[in-house]
Structures are given as C-alpha cells and as structure tokens.
C-alpha cells in the first residue's frame, strides 16, 4: 500500500471513530441524571425561568435534533459554547491541551527512560540478584495505580522532604510572560532555564506518578523480549565476531526486541493520557483532565463533549504515530 493510500485509509477510520465517540458521548451525558440548568439557577426558580434558559441553550429541542445541530457545528470546527463560562468550547479545550500534552509527553519520556534502563540492566545481569530485584520492583510498581503513586509522591517529596512543588503548573511568583501555552517548550526555546526548572519542579511529580506503572510494563516486556532475542543465532554469530555482552545487547538484540514493546507502549500511552484526568486533579495542574472533572461536576454538556472528542482525537493520533514508527523500525514492513 502506498503511503498516500495508507494515510487516506487512516483518515477514514479516524472519522468513523470520532463519529462513534460523538454519538456515545452526546447521548450518555444526556441520559445521566442531573442537568446544567438546575446547576445554574438557584433552588426554587420558576418553571418559566427554567424553560427560558432551556430554550437559550437549545435544550428544549429533542435529543436527536440537538445532536444534528451540534454535529453540524462540530464538522465546521464549532464545538458550541460552554454553559458555565459562556466561552467557545474549542477555545477552552485548546487553551488547556498544551498543558496536558506536555505532562503526558514528560511522563512518557520518564517511563521510557526508567523502563529502558531497567530492561537493559536486567538483561545484562540476567540470572543474578539484580534481575530479581528489578522483577520485584516491577511487580510493586504495577500493583499500585498511578493516583496512589501520586499520593505517595506528594507525601514523600512534598511533605516529608519537600523538594518539588505539589500543585499548579508554575509558581505564581514566576516573572515571565508566556507567548504560547506550551510553557515547557517555550522556556527551552527562549533559553530561560530558570523558568524551565520551575516548570519541571511542578510537573515532575505528576509526570512520575503517571510514568511509574508504564515504566514497569516497559521494563518487564522489553527485558523479556531481549532475553529471548539473546538466544537467537544471529546474536551468537555476533559474539563469535568478537563483540562483548554490552554491544551484543545494544546493537544486535535491542533493534529487534524493541518492536513488541513499541506496540504496547502505544496502547499503554493512551491509558496514561486517560490517567491525567485524576492526576491533574490531584496536583491541581491546569490541564484538560482537570477541566474535564469540573465540566462533569457542572454538567457542562458542550464542554464534556468537546473534551471527550479531543481525547479521542489524541488517541487515534497516538495509534497512527505507533503504526508509522513500527514501519520505520521494521524493514520487513516497509514494502508491505
């Protein structure tokens, strides 16, 4: 399949996925008890007031009619207006998206770094106590969910030994005008490493909490496939050429052993993004996830829909990136 055909096919799948997600979200949020009008008006508001507000937000029409109106706007890039803030939903979610992207990317980098180092060390030291210790550590990391790791980290590095900030995205006292919402990237591009350090000391703990379970999964799977690869004939052949253990692992085994791990990281990364919802709440980090919880509490239907659609879009994008990098790393798929 040519690249163009592949891209088109991917685009179609994405469109269908998003449409499905839109239907489900739209109807689910309207079936769940509680409605936005009741949240906006004081108790004892007259029926007249209620129906006037309902008409204002289009909630008096049938659900199907509402959906058609919303979908018509959505395909043109108009996701409606937030009920609580009266701002366009698109503007709101896009203002929070960079924060969540930066947090998940940082978590991914931490997870790959920790997981990769552990997998390589475990393979190098296979059969020794070091490998045993890594296995035990992995088991512990996996049996505790990310939000509990968040609490543990807050206790450890926020309270007992306070070296990191436990809430927010940047210090309020920070004297710096950001031109974009990508604070971390911007601080690097503008070479303001003092700002970068402040941002990182805010992001590090939530990112680490998200990264720990993923790091354990990477360590376990990559170590397993590295160990299997180490028995293959081409690795033995490389040994007879004079390569030592380290070069054999890094040059011969790793490029092949990494493929199954890559697929899994793609899947797990979407879970990680899902995890940002609670982690951002826990660390009062102003991202999409935190906004999602507020939107649900206030029954801000258009905003919930917008956030979910955006998350769905991120998930499909992640899968696309995994597919493409898989093809780039595996020569057997390149001409397929």
């Amino acid at each position: 399949m040519t690249l163009l055909k592949r891209a088109l096919a991917q685009l179609c799948t994405t469109a269908i996925t998003l449409f499905g997600v839109a239907i489900v979200v739209f109807f689910v949020v309207r079936v769940v008890p509680g409605n936005p009008i009741a949240m906006m008006l004081p108790p004892g508001a007259s029926a007249e007031d209620i129906s006037r507000l309902e008409a204002l937000y289009g909630l008096d029409k049938s659900i199907l009619h509402q959906f058609v109106i919303w979908l018509g706007g959505a395909v043109q890039g108009d996701l409606g207006t937030s009920i609580t803030t009266r701002q366009p939903v698109l503007e709101l979610v896009l203002s929070r998206l960079p924060a969540t992207l930066e947090l998940s990317m940082m978590a991914l980098v931490i997870a790959v770094a920790i997981g990769g180092v552990l997998a390589l060390t475990g393979t190098r030291m296979r059969g020794t106590r070091v490998e045993g210790a890594i296995d035990v550590g992995n088991g512990m990391a996996l049996s505790v969910p990310d939000f509990l790791w968040g609490l543990v980290l807050i206790l450890a590095f926020g309270v007992l030994w306070p070296i990191f900030h436990i809430s927010g995205r940047a210090s309020p006292t920070l004297d710096f005008e950001f031109a974009t919402k990508f604070y971390l990237f911007e601080s690097v591009l503008r070479l303001r490493f003092d700002v970068w350090l402040d941002l990182v000391s805010h992001m590090f703990m939530p990112a680490l909490a998200l990264a720990i379970p993923l790091a354990a999964i990477i360590a376990q799977l990559l170590k397993q496939s590295l160990k299997e690869t180490m028995h293959l004939d081409y690795v033995t052949l490389a040994r007879t050429k004079g390569y030592g253990e380290n070069s054999v692992i890094l040059r011969e085994a790793l490029p092949n052993a990494i493929l199954p791990t890559l697929t899994l990281v793609g899947v797990q990364f979407t879970f990680l993004i899902g995890g940002t919802v609670i982690i951002e709440r826990l660390f009062s980090y102003e991202g999409l996830g935190n906004m999602a919880i507020d939107a649900v509490i206030n029954r801000d239907l258009p905003l919930i829909q917008g956030i979910v659609i955006l998350f769905a879009l991120i998930f499909t994008a992640v899968n696309l990136v995994v597919d493409l990098s898989y093809a780039a790393l595996n020569p057997r798929l390149r001409h397929g």
């Binding site: 004939d233 007879t240 050429k241 490029p255 020569p331």
Partner: protein, 290 residues
C-alpha cells in the same frame, strides 16, 4: 608442523558434574579439514562452541587447554579472548534463515567485524565485502549489500554467511552443520563453495556434521565422538578403509554408499551401542579415581 589449533584434555560439564565433553583432544593443522562426526547429542557442536566461547550459560569449561595460533584461550581475559577469536576464527552457522539479523542490511553484517572489532576503515571494509560476495557468486553485490535478509533466498543467505565468515581472513573456520537446513541441491552447491573458499584462502576447517558422505568428500581427517568422548581420530582414507572402533564400523554400515546406493543399510546395532556406553562409563570411573 605445529598444529594451528590444539585442544587437549578439554572437559566441559553441565552444572557441577554432569560431563558433556570428556577429556577431548583434537588438533588441526594449517589448511587441514577435519570432520567432527557423531550422533545428535554427542557433543560435536559443543567443541565448536567451546572454541568460539559461545557455550550455553549452563555449561562450564572445567579443565583443559584450547590453543589457537599459539594463544591459550582459557588463560586470556574475556576481552582479549573475544578479540583473538574475532580476528582468527569464524563460524559458518547451521541455519541461514536465523543467523542474519533481520533489522540490519547485509553489507553491515559482513563489514561489522572488520570495522568494529578489527578497526578497518568503512570504505575498505565495504570494498572487501563486495569482493567476497563476488567470490561466493552473488550477482549484483552492490545491490545485495543494501538488501535486508528477508529480501533474499535461503541459499543466498547461506552464501552470504560464508562470505562473512571469510571476511577477516580467519585461520580457522568452524562450520556447524552448514548444510543441514538446506535442500539437497543447495547442499551440494554450498559444500562445493565452502571447499572452494577454503582452498583459495588456505583456511583450516572444522566441519561438524553427522553425514559421513560429506566427510569423505571434503575432509582429510575426522574425529568420531560419542557422548562427549573421542572414540577415534584418524585420517579419512584410513577411516574408510579400516575403521578401528566398533562404533565407527557400525556407523559406516549405516551410511549410504555412492558406489552402491541400493545396498541395504544397517542401523548401529544395540550391542555396539551398549559396548560404547560401557566404555564411556569406564572412562568416567577412571576419571573419578584420578
């Protein structure tokens, strides 16, 4: 002439005590081809692995010497030993389908020993690789250098592995049943090619096989192994004329003859196997008393 490879009293065990190789002695002169025969599990591949330092991690060299071109391999530090082996010896592996790294281009897999271990310049190593591919009759060597293993046939890959083995002009090549995974026609071509390359480069060849027919065609000498014990080590002509050991005689009778392909074959008879097993037990008992 001093032998180029001299193995003396080599003992390899599984775990602490279970013997895999029993006081193996083996010599190989420069340019000599020695067949290493025995049934499955006799330990013939293990001798090659012990020389190349690729024994499975559960196996240990307990005692003995492996002297390769004047260097006692067991006495060298790991790093030096790897270098000596990389420079002076090479392996032609059994299965061409699994012995090439699927994610690396052919060119790199031939040149990496030269560049990474022996410090050649990349350009020189690539020129050498193309020359070798030409020697093993691969058409369009330039194109093949850039190909990945999955784009080539099994026969091509085996020829590439042979070319790669000769890259650093090694003095010793260990061929570990290099034709077992191939079909009959390819087997014949590959054998001819190994023989041709060995003659041209003057390399010593240790040919691990269970096929006595192959041995009679390309080897000058052979060593018969049973359960890790050397039963007989002799010249090929001598062996086929008057095999000394009962097991060797039985083995010969179990091999089809090219002169009389229709003659019925006799499997190695049970009494011979039992006698050989007793010999192994007696050897172990003698060892225990030493």
């Amino acid at each position: 002439m001093t032998p180029f490879l001299q193995i003396s009293n080599l003992n390899v065990t599984l775990g602490q005590t279970h013997p895999i190789l029993r006081s193996v002695d083996l010599t190989l002169s420069e340019g000599e081809t020695r067949g290493l025969v025995g049934e499955s599990g006799a330990g013939k591949s293990m001798i090659g692995k012990a020389i190349l330092g690729t024994l499975p991690s559960a196996l240990r060299v307990r005692s003995g010497e492996i002297v390769l071109d004047g260097e006692d391999l067991q006495r060298l530090a790991d790093k030096d030993r790897r270098r000596v082996i990389g420079a002076k010896a090479a392996l032609i592996p059994q299965d061409p389908l699994t012995a090439l790294n699927p994610s690396k281009r052919i060119g790199v897999q031939i040149t990496n020993r030269l560049v990474d271990i022996l410090g050649w310049r990349r350009k020189a190593a690539e020129a050498r690789a193309i020359e070798l591919l030409d020697e093993v009759h691969i058409p369009n060597p330039d194109r093949v250098m850039r190909a990945y293993p999955h784009e080539l046939s099994g026969g091509m890959r085996q020829r590439i592995l042979i070319a790669a083995a000769f890259a650093a002009e090694p003095k010793l090549i260990i061929a570990d049943e290099p034709t077992t995974a191939l079909d009959v026609t390819a087997q014949k071509q590959v054998l001819k090619l190994i023989h041709e390359m060995q003659q041209r480069h003057g390399t010593s060849l240790l040919f691990v096989t269970h096929d006595l027919g192959v041995v009679s065609k390309i080897c000058q000498s052979l060593t018969v192994l049973y359960s890790g014990l050397v039963l007989e080590s002799t010249g090929v002509d001598e062996f086929f004329a008057t095999p000394r050991h009962a097991y060797s005689r039985a083995l010969l009778q179990a091999t089809p003859k090219y002169t009389d392909p229709d003659a019925s074959l006799t499997p190695v008879p049970d009494p011979v196997i039992e006698a050989t097993q007793r010999e192994v037990q007696m050897f172990d008992r003698k060892q225990a008393h030493v």
